[in-house]
């Protein structure tokens, strides 16, 4: 509070700002690589505002303006408006059901006029992060209690549920990243463990034959019982637990997973997940099949992944060089300027470049966690973790998707992918954190 009169730049973590600037610059160059056509005057196209890289430059300018505003703002503002903004965000998401506009099959956009569209789910990430921080910073919140846990999870997942109903599952998935924050703040680790186990079980179900998997699960149960036979003699409950876990596991692989794929996921989602493990998915089993006017099931829908892997793999150790990527120039990878932007970088700069690039991200994430940990106020810390988790989750899902470790889902690469909303969201997220960090001596409520 005493520092209020001094320069606005005081306390700002310039290291994060620099990392931010480097990443945004890399992003623009990547988009430039994708769009570049030999023989055109690139200086001119950069300022023309017609190409995507030029637009991204404009968005960057906009982000700088917004960032300056955030840095000039009072950090109390964010705590004060956190809940209100969250409520506003949820309201906007509800509004999309009525005034929303469909783009690429997801009804999650609100037209703003002038050709611009707003995706509330994107903005809601910021609001959710703030609201979650606000919730934890309340004096009365005791996260060891179940009630608080439920409230915390609800705050994090409410926008996700809404997003799912807008057919924006990529964005919905992003909200799962808040579990990392919840974990940091005291969520029992069992939830993460159970969640991971469930994930492993689903993947195993996809890869292995149902019967083989059942036999393996049974074998694991039998071996466990054998090793724990002395404890079981003393406590009969353990046997019961093991048996029920076994029944649950077999039940999941036998019934739950097929149910999820046939009834919860859309046909195309199931197909993508199956194609990731190299299998065909029979869409005729899907409940959603008859609903829409979808095309009949085609061969495994792995063109994107295949081309993406080809582009990345052909980069080899040191890449083909800036603007020399044949796959990038040939536009083989679909959506290369947005979701598959990583491929252009990997093709041009190879393994070496990828590792350098990912290191920048890793340094940024570590820095954000360091920042979060040095906060005196819970609000700032929780918020810091939210930022780190969101960014981490985006990077993981996006990069894993391009290298074939994750099914294809529309999630941008933070600060790199083309797109105003995404760039703006991440900028706001980061700069609010920088602002909060600058005031870390204060205890915010």
């Amino acid at each position: 509070m005493n520092n209020k009169n001094t320069s606005a730049s005081q306390g700002i973590d310039w290291f994060v700002v620099w990392l931010y600037a480097i990443l945004v610059a890399i992003g623009i160059l990547c988009i430039f690589m994708v769009e570049y056509k030999p023989g055109t005057d690139w200086m001119q196209t950069f300022v023309s505002g017609k190409t995507n890289y030029s637009k991204q430059l404009i968005f960057t300018g906009l982000c700088i303006v917004v960032a300056i505003f955030i840095l000039l703002a009072d950090s109390k503002l964010f705590t004060a408006f956190a809940n209100l903004l969250y409520a506003f965000g949820i309201l906007l998401m509800f509004a999309t059901f009525f005034i929303g506009k469909s783009i690429n099959g997801s009804k999650s956009w609100i037209p703003l006029g002038g050709g611009f569209n707003l995706q509330p789910a994107e903005l809601c990430k910021i609001f959710t992060a703030l609201a979650l921080a606000k919730f934890f910073s309340r004096q009365e919140t005791d996260f060891s209690k179940l009630k608080s846990q439920i409230i915390g999870v609800s705050i994090a997942l409410a926008p996700a549920v809404l997003s799912h109903f807008q057919h924006e599952d990529g964005l919905a998935l992003a909200y799962l990243s808040f579990f990392l924050v919840l974990y940091r703040e005291g969520l029992p680790p069992q939830i993460l463990i159970i969640g991971t186990t469930f994930g492993v079980l689903v993947v195993a179900t996809l890869i292995l034959e149902p019967n083989t998997l059942a036999i393996i699960l049974t074998a694991i149960a039998v071996v466990t019982i054998y090793f724990l036979r002395k404890q079981i003699k003393r406590k009969k409950n353990i046997l019961l637990i093991i048996l029920s876990v076994w029944v649950l596991a077999v039940g999941i692989q036998r019934f739950a997973v097929p149910y999820i794929f046939n009834n919860v996921f859309e046909c195309y989602q199931s197909t993508r997940i199956y194609s990731m493990v190299g299998k065909d998915y029979d869409c005729s089993m899907n409940r959603h099949k008859s609903k829409g006017n979808e095309k009949p099931a085609r061969k495994p829908d792995d063109y994107n992944v295949r081309q993406s892997k080809i582009a990345i793999g052909s980069g080899e150790l040191f890449g083909k060089g800036f603007l020399k990527g044949t796959q990038t120039r040939g536009k083989y990878v679909p959506e290369q300027h947005t979701d598959f932007i990583f491929t252009s970088l990997a093709e041009a700069f190879g393994l070496f470049g990828c590792i350098c690039f990912l290191s920048i991200y890793l340094i940024l994430l570590n820095r954000i966690i360091r920042i979060a940990e040095r906060q005196r106020s819970t609000f700032s810390r929780v918020y810091g973790y939210s930022v780190a988790s969101i960014i981490f989750f985006h990077i993981t899902v996006n990069v894993c998707m391009t290298i074939g470790l994750f099914p294809i889902i529309g999630i941008p690469l933070p600060l790199i992918s083309y797109g105003g909303s995404s760039l703006l969201t991440f900028s706001i997220l980061i700069f609010i954190l920088i602002r909060l960090d600058a005031d870390r001596q204060m205890v915010l409520r």
Partner: protein
């Protein structure tokens, strides 16, 4: 506060690090250990454009080009850019309707997407090209793209030159190591095929980057890996265009073949296989139609009869049996044999002879006395010093081999047959181990099992002219820039017949052959002022008709060389089913010899002869029947088509009207006597086959 749950901060950092390690591991897997992705990327994005060099040109002995390259134009369209095209004008120019236009567009888009250029109308005629070129501004998305095509300024030597065609899958399989690709053109027959390597040149490769829709985006690495194309080499032939043209003219409406060789070099002066075709019919946009037509022609115009057909050589073979007889001493020049109408040596009264009397060697050749040469042949086979017919035949064949008979000569054209010199094992099978000379006496006069190709016969004439040596007959004299592939080496080797044969024996044979032309069987074909040596042949032949072998009209043969001193041309002619050698083959040969030696036909009498033989129609009877059948089939088809059209047009017409059309249509279907067909055949032949001045014109068919 800040220490709260700090251990979990570590856990989160570990999770971050772990995930990054997984990602990096997969990146290492993809980028460092999976070379397949680099290959896949190259297959994807690098388009290896083959740059075709110009094919070599073929010149005749006087450096006149028998075939050349011209530029033809294709109308090429990129459908996605063709919006705003003046469809109506285009359709009018191309003479199609808009429905057809739309159909073609649909097909193009279906086959080759709408963003890539595809051929809309191939090989435009010059007039159409000119018209389109004026109007191109009205047709956005359309361009006129050039391509190289063959053209034949002399409309001649189709069988010799061969044709090029797009390679098909079986060709690619057979030539898998020669880097052909779908869409390439390659020589399929004739010289184009044999000298493909030379004519083709070396293709260049340009590496271009293409995008996901196969649109080209520019050169790869600024052409660092590109290779330049090298033009095909020209061929210089020993062929004489004028002689070839005259030969083809003379063989109009005849079935047969002519081969003329320069005995001094073995260079082929002309090679005619009749009926032949105008090679220009196999270029241009009507190629497919013409090709089918020629392929189905019962006269088999694609068959090179000069080397692909084997004939019994008939009496022309007597020169060979005579030489062998003289060399082996079973006769000498003064030996006389009397013929009373038939050869009695075997008691069968066969073969018969035409001229009765007593002949010495010279006269026997001059009058083609069957008895004389049957006697010679029998004497050779019955010579006790050989120890039996088996070894006697072996001796005979050993001589015959050195005359280039019974094996492929190695002419530089495809489809050469080796002929047949029967061996004793064959006769053992046929007649048992105790076969003897009388079993095979008809070989003496070139009937029986002895078979030769016409080019072998011409070569025998060259050997006699040279008195005992020959160069392998060949068409290509030299290759521009040297014989890189050693294709002409074998034509520089001088082959000798048995050295036991003294020149005096050749002199005796030449005496006889001169007598043939001077006053013998071919006296009518003598050329005033040129000493020509020749030998006629009249060959009995059979054809299968309804499963039975039926004797056909004799084949007419003539082999000759001229002039006797310093011979410059050796020639062999066959005219199938044209009767005696002197009736058709001999006059044709004499006209060609005169043409070659004198450059023109001198004197009105000879000119008339040229005219007469050009006009003669000697298409064999069976073939005429075939052609007839085909023509009437075609008529039926056309009549049906016509009927359909009329039916649909005049569906509501009166009964009489329909009756009228029916009669009119059915009439040509009714079988006609063969005689009626002759003039019609002539018309068709004149239209399709060579020697008409029309070039690229539609075939006019008279119905």
């Amino acid at each position: 506060m800040s220490v709260f749950n700090q251990s979990r901060s570590r856990v989160i950092q570990i999770i971050f690090a772990a995930v990054f390690i997984v990602i990096v591991a997969q990146l290492i897997n993809l980028q460092a250990f999976s070379p397949k992705y680099r290959l896949a990327a190259e297959n994807n994005a690098i388009y290896r454009k083959v740059i075709y060099p110009d094919r070599g040109i073929i010149f005749d002995r006087k450096k006149r080009s028998l075939l050349e390259n011209t530029i033809m134009f294709d109308l090429v369209v990129t459908p996605s850019e063709s919006k705003g095209t003046d469809t109506l004008t285009l359709c009018n120019l191309l003479n199609i309707d808009t429905a057809d236009y739309k159909k073609r567009m649909r097909e193009i888009i279906f086959k080759n997407t709408s963003v890539r250029p595809s051929v809309f109308e191939p090989l435009l005629t010059p007039e159409l090209y000119a018209k389109l070129n004026e109007n191109m501004y009205k047709f956005p998305g359309f361009i006129l793209s050039e391509r190289s095509a063959r053209t034949y300024p002399y409309n001649t030597a189709g069988n010799v030159l061969g044709y090029i065609a797009e390679v098909d899958t079986s060709f690619l399989r057979r030539h898998s190591d020669e880097h052909y690709e779908m869409g390439d053109y390659a020589g399929m027959t004739g010289l184009e095929r044999v000298y493909e390597k030379v004519l083709m040149g070396q293709r260049g490769i340009k590496r271009l980057i293409r995008d996901n829709k196969s649109r080209l985006q520019g050169s790869y690495q600024n052409g660092l890996f590109d290779t330049a194309q090298i033009a095909g080499k020209n061929l210089y032939l020993s062929l004489d265009v004028e002689l070839q043209q005259m030969g083809e003219k003379l063989m109009t409406n005849k079935v047969g073949s002519i081969v003329a060789i320069d005995p001094r070099t073995g260079g082929i002066l002309c090679m005619i296989s009749a009926p032949t075709y105008n090679p220009n019919y196999l270029t241009g946009n009507q190629r497919r139609k013409h090709f089918a037509e020629l392929l189905l022609d019962p006269r088999k115009p694609f068959n090179n009869r000069a080397m692909g057909n084997m004939y019994s050589p008939g009496s022309t073979f007597k020169t060979v049996s005579g030489i062998i007889g003289l060399t082996e001493g079973v006769i000498n020049e003064h030996t006389t044999v009397t013929c009373n109408g038939a050869f009695q040596g075997c008691g069968t009264g066969k073969p018969k002879c035409l001229d009765k009397g007593t002949f010495n060697f010279k006269e026997a050749i001059a009058h083609s006395d069957n008895t004389y040469f049957s006697t010679v042949y029998k004497r050779i086979l019955d010579q006790p010093r050989y120890g039996g017919a088996d070894s006697a035949l072996k001796v005979f064949n050993k001589y015959a081999y050195t005359f280039g008979l019974g094996h492929k000569l190695g002419v530089d054209l495809p489809t050469e047959q080796k002929g047949n010199l029967p061996v004793s094992s064959y006769y053992r099978k046929l007649f048992g181990p105790k076969w003897y000379s009388c079993n095979i006496i008809s070989n003496a006069i070139g009937q029986g099992e002895v078979q030769t190709t016409l080019i072998q016969l011409a070569n025998v004439m060259a050997i006699i002219a040279n008195k005992g040596w020959y160069y392998t007959p060949h068409i290509v004299d030299s290759i521009e820039g040297g014989d890189e592939y050693k294709m002409l080496e074998s034509f520089k080797i001088k082959h000798y017949t048995d050295t036991n044969i003294p020149d005096s024996i050749y002199d005796a044979v030449q005496d006889g052959m001169q007598a043939v032309v001077d006053y013998g069987t071919a006296a009518a074909s003598s050329i005033p002022g040129i000493v020509m040596c020749g030998k006629t042949g009249t060959v009995e032949n059979y054809a299968k008709v309804n499963g039975k072998m039926v004797q056909q009209k004799d084949h007419s043969f003539f082999g000759a060389f001229a002039p006797r001193d310093n011979p410059r041309i050796a020639i062999a002619v066959i005219c199938e089913n044209a009767g005696q050698g002197a009736w058709a083959a001999a006059p044709i040969a004499s006209l060609l010899v005169e043409k070659y030696l004198r450059d023109s036909i001198k004197g009105k009498e000879r000119q008339d002869k040229l005219e007469e033989f050009t006009k003669k129609n000697l298409i064999p009877y069976l073939m005429r029947l075939e052609m007839n059948k085909r023509d009437s089939l075609r008529q039926i088809k056309e009549a049906q088509l016509l009927m359909q059209q009329r039916m649909s047009k005049e569906a509501g017409d009166t009964l009489e009207n329909e009756d009228g059309t029916d009669q009119e249509i059915i009439k040509p279907v009714a079988p006609k006597p063969a005689k009626d067909a002759v003039p019609k055949t002539k018309n068709t032949a004149a239209a399709i086959l060579v020697n008409d001045e029309k070039k690229h014109k539609k075939i006019s068919r008279t119905l």
